[in-house]
Each structure stands twice: as structure tokens, then as C-alpha cells.
Amino acid sequence: MNVLANLLVALRALRINVLRSALTMLGIIIGVGAVITMVAVGSGAQDRVSAQIRSLGANLIIVFNASSRDGRARLGAGTTYNLTEEDAEALTLIDGVVLTAPTVRGGAQVVNGADNWWTAIQGVTTDFMAARDWELVAGRAITEEDIRAGAKVVVLGETVAKAVFVNSDPVGSMVRIKNVPFDVVGVLAKKGQNSFGQDQDDVALVPLSTARKRVIGANLQTRPTGVAQILVKLQDGADAKVVEEQVTSSLRQRHNIQPGAEDDFNVRNLSEIMEAREASQRVLSYLLAAVASVSLLVGGIGIMNIMLVSVTERTREIGLRMAVGARRRDILLQFLVEAVTLSLIGGIVGIGIGILASALIANLAGWPTLIEPLSLVLAFGFSGAVGVFFGFYPARKAAQLDPIVALRYE
């Protein structure tokens, strides 16, 4: 008896008891649906964290100015400019550092006629875009030339560009910042919110030299090359911990900080924080999938239960089939195919429900969900395996019946 004929027999048997078959499948449907949904929620969250890491710029260490002490008065962080462009230059010599990008920062109104927008003005060097893995959607980036000349050019973040150029093309136009006219030379690609909910596109980039001269004032008088922060981009595979230590010791030395004294700067490895968050996210999604798998297991036990009942109910049928020439393996196959058919149909319906539930969660709760094709294939294969595993024992029980006893069974 071939598998196709077996499949027909199995389908016929399942159709005779539609309600029971449907209820039996329900366990698998719920199990597979739960696994698909949980994995989708888990990988959606993980995917978002990964995207945030990417938007931050991969392999990035950020050095800030720390609060400084003036006698017994502690000033707020970043109020003084302990870091300089020379520091940034020096940090590039450290092993594992690809490039460094010193920046200064200030707030200002960006004005285009009647449209204006308050934004963060960042004074940057040419390496800034590479450090942040940032792309342009239009125009050009800030060049070495611009920085040397203190050119009045600006690259607008997406949010700013949209705010002050409602209907027109920003590139080639002019905006006023602190009453100084700037040529808009480029527009940045959209990065979206960072992990702290901040709009990263609410920014305007100008040459570092221009920012010092035109946008940010006072404090720089005492330190003409002072910067607010230095982005340190690491090589792929560089050990962030080691580089971090070297950055710290290099800066302490350059700033003449005595042993035991506090740093006048802070080093943050943001991607490390994010990676830790990603890892915990991953653990959480594994946990969700594990909990969901338990219901799949329960569904499998349900199949075994019903198959055992079915074997007992159909003892005479089994005896009859053996009498008319079914071999033990035909009977085994018949009941195994029945169990696997139950679990596979349950698996298919469960996949559908899982996809639907993921879409619902994404729409109603606003959580990102991500369904990977591999997880569907796995769910399908796994539900088949559940059918084989839990169907085998009842099928073997059926196949080992004695036809004479089975035929007389009441």
C-alpha cells in the first residue's frame, strides 16, 4: 500500500470525525501560532535594537567633556572645552582606531524666509559622516576646503530640511543661521529616532571652523581648538574595551591629569550598551519561543491521546484490515499518516494564525514584528515532527494488535 493511498485513507478517517479532528488540531494550531507570533515579536524587537545600533554608527566610542571643578564649585558637564582637535588627532594613532571626528554643538534658529526651525547646529570635520555611517540623499558633504576656508555652508538633517523647505528643493538655496546666510549644499539621509527617542534628523551640519566663528561663541575664546565631543570609530573586530582604556590613558596624559585625580572627560561606548540590550532582547525572545513551544508539546500530547482513543475505537477495523491483507507496517503507516496529517494541517493553520496575530500586534500594539521565512519552515517541519513523535506510539499499538483478537473486539 503506497503512501498516497494511505493519505486518502487517513483523510477519509479524519473527515468522518470532523469535529474531533478539528479539536485535536486546535492544540497544534495554538502551539504553532503562539511560536510564530512570539518569535515574530522577539525578532521584531531585536531587529529594532540592531537598527538603532546601526543608526548610531557601528563600532563607535564617544568622548565627552566632563564636568570640571573650579575650586569647590562643580560646573555642569560639557560647560568647558577640555577636549581639543589635537586630542582627536592624537587618538587616531591608537591601534584599532580608524578615524576620529571632533565636533562642537550649539542651538540656533534655521531661517528660510517665513519658515524657521530651532535645531542643533553641529560643527563637524570631514570624517563625521563616516564615523556616524551617515549618507546623503542630495548634494554634497562638507569638505576639507570648506573647513579651511570657514565656508558658510550647511548640510541639513532630514527633519530640518522638511521644516524650512516645505515646497522647494533645499540644495542650492540659502538659509540664515544667527543672521548669517549659509548655502545649503546637502541633505542627510533619514536616520529616525535613536534608542532614547531623540530625533537624530533634527540637526544641521556646518564646518567645524565656521561653527566656532559664527554659531558658538564665548567659551571658545579661551581654547580656540576646543571641541564638545570626539567620535572615535573602531576597526571591525577591534576590542572596544582595550581601545577605551588606551583612549582614556592617552587623554589623561595629554591633559596632565595626576594619578588619582578625576578625568576631565567621559568615554562612552554606546554600541556596547546597545549590544547588551540586544543580547537581553534575544534571551527574552528565546524565552517567549520556549514558553510557546510548551503549548506545541501539549498539542502533541493531545494528538497522542486522540490517536490512542481512535485505535481503541477502531480495533475491529484494524482486525478486518489485517484479515484482508494489511501488513503490520500498512497499519502502522495508516495511523502514523493520520497523526502527521492532523499535525501538519494544524501546523499550516497555525502558521496562518501566527502571521495574522503578528500583523495584528504590529498594528494594534505598535510593536515591531518580523516574520522570518525560516521560522515558518521550521514551524511546519516541527509540527510534522510532533505528529511523527506523538503518533508513533498509538500507531505501533495498532500495528501490534492480534487480528483474531481485534476482529472479536466489542
Partner: protein
């Protein structure tokens, strides 16, 4: 067709172990059933006739003795080979019909062919031809619950015939039927026998046994009598004598 007997047993015995005691259900049965015979096996319950039937049907194995069926020593066959023999050479008819519930008559008849490895078209064609032979062509798609007892037994006979067996084993085929329907079933069996099929019938009614040509009586696991039937009943003739129209 060879001259050799279809069934030949020599000192056939079957014992069951029940706890410490041994039940000798069958002992020293040596007989031959030739091709084309119509044999009735009689005996009270516990006489060993059911055990003998199970052995003849290749459903069971003897604990001692020989059993040759169609020239093959059954003892040499493994479980799968026995299944093949049952499938290809033996047709079973049971007292309680043993039809699959909620399954159409034609599907019931076709069922043994699923294990013969025939193409679906051939299976269907053969099943409907056998149904027609027992006069149930119009009921092919009825479920057993929609058929009368006699019709159900006719479906069961069609199922037994579907593989053109050498031997039909009928175990109390009329036990669950009224007299008239019982005679109808016997008419079908007699007709099959007339066409050359060997029929072995188990019954405890001597009236039914007289439709056969030969009666073998069992008692306490042994053959007590083996006689030719002197005045054989003719089922077809009896049917026409029944008042009313034949079904």
C-alpha cells in the same frame, strides 16, 4: 488448476496458554479440502471450529502439525507473507459483517485492493463489478447504516470476492440474519461454489450446513464426523418457494 487438494492438514494442533494451564483447542486434525468443495464446519462453542477457521484463514499459526494451503507449507511463511496470502487467496465473510462504518459500500468492497497495489481505476472498476454481482450496483454509495442486514452481508461477500480468492471462509454468515435473508446469502455462496470457488462455512445450524456438500463436525478440538450431505438444500429453489417476491 492442480489436482492437489487446496487445503491439507496433518496432525494439526493449537494450544493456548492461560496462566499455568494449557488449553488444547485443537488436536490431531488431519483432513483435506479439495478445490471446488463446499464444506460446512459444525460444532458447539468450544469445539475448536473457530480455532480451525483462524488457522485455515492464515490468521493464526498451529503449535504443531502441518498446514498446506494451495501447495505451500504455511508454517514457512512470515507475517507479511501470510498477509499476502490472505489478501490474494482468501475471502472472509463474518457473522457481524465487519463493514467500515460511515464508508460507502463501494469503498468497503474496494478496501482489500488497497493492499494489493492495484491502480485506483482498476480498484474502482473491480469493486463496482463485484457489487453488481451480488445485486447491489444501485447501492454502491450507500453507507452500511443505510442498508439492511442482508444487503450488508452481500456487500461483505462482494468484498470477499474482490480479489478472486481461491477460498471463501464464511464464519456464521447467516447468524445475524432472518431465515429468508439467510437463504439468500446461501444462494450467493452456492452460486459462487458452482463457479468453482472453494467455500468453507462455519455454522452451528444443521439447516444451514445442509447447503454444503460436506459437513465436518468438531467436538473437543477433534474431528468427530466427516460426511457427505445426502440431501443437499438448493437455496435458489427454496427462495422461489418463499411467499412473495425475491429481494
Amino acid at each position: 488448476m492442480s489436482d492437489e487438494a487446496l487445503i491439507r492438514t496433518r496432525n494439526l494442533a493449537r494450544e493456548y496458554h492461560m496462566g499455568d494451564s494449557v488449553v488444547r483447542a485443537l488436536r490431531n486434525v488431519s483432513l483435506e479440502i479439495g478445490r471446488g468443495e463446499f464444506v460446512a464446519i459444525m460444532g458447539p462453542s468450544g469445539s475448536g471450529k473457530s480455532t480451525f477457521m483462524n488457522l485455515l484463514g492464515c490468521l493464526d499459526r498451529p503449535t504443531a502439525g502441518e498446514h498446506w494451503f494451495d501447495g505451500v507449507d504455511v508454517a514457512t511463511l512470515d507475517t507479511d507473507q501470510l498477509a499476502r496470502v490472505r489478501n490474494a487467496k482468501i475471502g472472509f465473510v463474518f457473522q457481524s459483517f465487519n463493514l467500515l462504518p460511515r464508508t460507502s459500500a463501494i469503498d468497503n468492497v474496494e478496501m482489500p485492493l488497497l493492499y494489493s497495489g492495484l491502480a485506483p481505476d482498476t480498484r474502482r472498476q473491480r469493486a463496482s463489478e463485484r457489487l453488481a454481482r451480488v445485486g447491489l450496483a444501485e447501492r454502491a454509495h450507500h453507507h452500511p447504516s443505510q442498508l439492511s442486514g442482508g444487503q450488508q452481508q452481500r456487500v461483505a461477500i462482494a468484498r470477499a470476492l474482490v480479489n478472486d480468492p481461491l477460498l471463501i471462509l464464511a464464519d456464521e454468515p447467516t447468524g445475524a440474519l432472518d431465515t429468508r435473508t439467510g437463504v439468500e446469502i446461501m444462494a450467493i455462496l452456492q452460486e459462487l461454489n458452482a463457479r468453482g470457488t472453494t467455500v468453507v462455512l462455519v455454522t452451528h445450524e444443521s439447516d444451514i450446513a445442509r447447503f454444503a456438500r460436506r459437513v465436518i463436525a468438531f467436538r473437543d478440538g477433534e474431528v468427530r464426523a466427516d460426511d457427505r450431505v445426502a440431501e443437499r438444500h438448493d437455496a435458489a429453489a427454496q427462495l422461489s418457494a418463499f411467499p412473495g417476491e425475491a429481494a
